[in-house]
């Protein structure tokens, strides 16, 4: 849960887009870890491997997510020549 909090804090406060991507990754890792840790409960004498299966899938998806996020970051840098999210404010009225 601490990792989730750290990730959320990074995404909310950092101005550099690269740091935000790193924050997203920390967030996802925190979620995965809490999934695994909560799956320790034994039902019917053995540990249900469903949570582990989901986490393995989620890790793969994280890899894909990083790829897309970095690609977007690259495009943003080429187009606007900055990574400061406070300067990227075209999504306003």
């Amino acid at each position: 849960m601490a990792l989730v909090a750290i990730g959320l804090y990074m995404v909310s406060t950092k101005r550099n887009l690269m740091k935000i991507v790193i924050g997203i990754e920390i967030l996802a890792t925190g979620v995965n870890l809490s999934f695994i840790s909560m799956a320790y409960i034994r039902t019917a004498g053995f540990t249900d491997a469903l949570a582990h299966a989901i986490v393995v899938t989620a890790i793969v998806l994280d890899g894909v997510l990083v790829g897309v996020a970095l690609a977007l970051t690259l495009v943003v840098f080429r187009k606007f020549n900055t990574l400061d999210v406070d300067k990227l404010r075209s999504l306003r009225w």
Partner: protein, 693 residues
């Protein structure tokens, strides 16, 4: 034999339809000319109907001794459940194939007549550009119709029900370019397709609502479960809504089988290619409503007797429902037959005739329901309905296919472009005459036996009003049938025929692919008339299965073959039936075939208002258009005027502008603000979750 034979009748046509475009594309690699490609594609499409027909025929033959030897000796009725929807407490939805005498009989009619019509279409549709669309829709139709017939629950049946509706819509509007030559009456084909779709949809809504009511009450949609667990009917009866629910369900068959007041779509549905009219709008799809009645009458029969044994008599509500069925049927028979007497297009005459004959079947099932307390009479009336269904499917398909031949020969379906064709098309004349004699009710053709069975049931059981309505319709039927034959084949040659002769293309008989189905159907028209006794024996099993088998039913006498013939011919009703035919045929013969009297002169006398009344279809169509079509248009126009021209729309604009100005303040463009919204939402949701727990 594995269970795959249960899937073939309905799944195979869909597979053919799905793979047809691929086959057409492959055939383009092998054949340079369009004709070769066409033959490959259409030949492949015909196998859809053929396999479907052969497999259902095999199943029907297998079912003769009461169980399926192919299917590990399963007994009739056999419900082969393919899939089950997620089960919820007390509610069970299954998808399966229900094999019993009724469904197998109907499946055979659909697929075998369908195959003959597909073979006919190979020659009929030659040279048409959109043939891929035609063959796909035809196969989708046969598949959907088999789903409708073989489906084991109201839901499965509804799937097929909508599938055939879609195929019918697509095929009525087949000539979507709307050239003037394809118009029927004042409407282009696309308009006719839309009209058919919308009108049948009105009925389907009623059917759907009734299905949901029954499902919520009983927890099942399966026909066999509905019959064996009659608690739902008792519950509905105690709430006093049993008759209303059944009448809502009846709206579906009324729309599909073109009964009054939703009968107006069928005459326009003739805008499609003629094989479509023969298959969908005469032989099979419009029988779906009758089939539904047959199926549901069986369920109600068992429900009635089960509740009766349990001490609850629901006769009061059931009789209300069946009086509605019988009177709607008898009235529609009269209404449509009277319109058929004045129509100027051969296909429209046949369309009115179809509506009228469907009315006979409705009347038969209505009477069967009214006789539910007397199993012996019930079975008689029920079987007469099924019997008329099958013989009508055969002879009407024959008549429509012959009309298609005429249309090919003279490039028109108007009577004024025909006349005197007997000399040029002797084969067509012979087979069409067989169909016409059956329609008019002349013995020994099948139409006579089945129509007489219905009239007999009506007379013997004392339904005088229904008997009179049906008898008058029988006179009109004989009249318009021979008027049609006279106008098309006898009399003087029209200018159009002369013109065709001068061009060097006199009307001529069709090729072998068209002659073959016509010949088969003509032979079937003659011999199937003698099958009623065996049909009764076949369906007796149905009531044993459906019913609680009260003592009387076991004693039902199924007439043996010679007894039946002698009994029908010797009864005084036979003389009445003959008199009805003569009453209809005689004026028609004198006017149109012998030419003694001039039809124009007769109509220009005081009969003119009557003629106009009938020609304008009792003004029902005009009233519908005035209320629903023009009403919708004027409503749309007035709304448009309010919003756009008088400035009524300004108010709406103001509201949206102010809403937008209030909401846009949230969009700051700062990422961290958006993130804080997200965190806030997370916190709030967590708090709510904790409070609930």
């Amino acid at each position: 034999m594995s269970y795959i034979i249960v899937l073939l009748p309905w799944l195979f046509p869909f597979i053919i339809a799905a793979t047809l475009p691929i086959v057409k594309r492959i055939s383009e690699g092998f054949f340079e000319d369009e004709y070769g490609r066409y033959l490959v594609t259409s030949g492949y499409a015909v196998t859809g109907g053929l396999i479907s027909g052969l497999s259902s025929l095999l199943l029907a033959i297998d079912s003769f001794n009461g169980r399926f030897d192919f299917l590990n000796g399963e007994k009739i009725p056999f419900d082969y459940i393919l899939a089950e929807w997620i089960p919820i407490d007390g509610y069970r939805v299954t998808f399966g194939v229900l094999l019993d005498n009724l469904s197998l009989f109907m499946a055979n009619i659909v697929a075998l007549i369908g195959t003959l019509i597909l073979i006919y279409s190979v020659e009929y549709m030659r040279g048409d550009k959109g043939y891929l669309r035609y063959w796909m829709l035809m196969n989708i139709f046969i598949g959907s119709m088999q789903v409708l017939v073989l489906g084991d629950s109201l839901l499965a049946m509804f799937f097929g029900w909508e599938g055939v509706g879609f195929a019918s819509y697509g095929l009525i509007g087949y000539y979507y370019t709307d050239e003037k030559e394809y118009w029927i009456g004042p409407y282009p084909p696309t308009h006719a397709g839309m009209k058919a779709f919308i009108m049948t949809r009105i009925g389907d809504v009623g059917l759907l609502v009734a299905t949901i009511i029954i499902f919520l009450t009983s927890g099942t949609m399966n026909f066999l479960d509905l019959a064996s667990q009659p608690g739902w009917a008792a519950a509905l009866y105690s709430d006093g809504i049993l008759a209303i629910t059944l009448l809502l369900a009846l709206l579906g068959p009324i729309g599909k089988s073109a009964q009054f007041p939703l009968h107006e779509w069928l005459p326009e549905a003739m805008a499609g290619p003629t094989p479509v009219s023969a298959l969908i709008h005469a032989a099979t799809m419009v029988k779906a409503g009758v089939y539904f009645l047959g199926r549901f009458t069986g369920v109600l029969y068992e429900v009635y007797w089960k509740l009766y044994e349990g001490g609850l008599n629901i006769w009061g509500e059931i009789s209300n429902f069946y009086w509605a069925v019988a009177l709607i049927g008898a009235f529609t028979a009269l209404l449509a037959a009277s319109q058929g007497m004045v129509s100027d297009q051969i296909k429209k005459v046949l369309a009115y005739s179809t509506v009228s004959q469907l009315g006979y079947m409705f009347a038969a099932f209505g009477m069967a329901g009214l006789l539910i307390e007397h199993p012996e009479a019930f079975v008689d009336a029920y079987i007469s309905g099924i019997y008329h269904l099958s013989s009508h499917a055969i002879f009407k398909a024959l008549l429509f296919l012959s009309a298609g031949v005429l249309g090919h020969a003279v490039h028109s379906y108007l009577f004024r472009d025909m006349g005197g064709l007997r000399r040029y098309m002797p084969y067509t004349y012979t087979v069409m005459m067989v169909g016409a004699l059956a329609l008019a009710g002349v013995p020994p053709f099948n139409g006579f036996w089945s129509k007489d069975a219905i009239l007999h049931a009506a007379y013997v059981e004392g339904f005088t009003a229904i008997y009179i309505l049906l008898a008058v319709s029988a006179i009109m039927t004989a009249f318009y049938t021979f008027r049609m034959m006279g106008l098309a084949f006898h009399g003087e040659e029209s200018d159009n025929v002369e013109h065709l002769k001068h061009e060097g293309h006199p009307p001529h008989d069709p090729g072998i692919l068209m002659k073959f189905p016509l010949g088969i159907l003509a032979v079937a028209t003659v011999i199937s008339g003698f099958l009623l006794p065996s049909l009764g024996g076949y369906f007796k099993a149905l009531f044993k299965v459906f019913g609680v088998t009260p003592e009387e039913l076991l004693n039902v006498k199924i007439l043996k073959f010679p007894d039946f013939l002698v009994g029908t011919v010797m009864s005084p009703l036979f003389i009445v039936a003959m008199a009805l035919v003569v009453l209809g045929v005689a004026p028609s013969y004198l006017i149109y075939i012998a030419g003694r009297y001039d039809a124009e002169k007769i109509v220009s006398t005081p009969l003119k208002p009557l003629w106009l009344f009938l020609y304008n279809r009792w003004y029902i169509n005009k009233v519908y258009y005035a209320i629903f079509v023009d009403g919708t248009y004027s409503l749309a126009r007035s709304i448009f005027r309010f919003l756009e021209e008088t400035g009524g729309g300004e108010g709406f604009k103001e509201i949206y502008v102010s809403l937008s100005q209030a909401a846009r303040r949230l969009q700051t463009g700062y990422l961290r603000v958006n993130m804080s919204y997200m965190v806030m939402a997370l916190v709030v949701l967590t708090l709510i979750y904790m409070m609930v727990i």
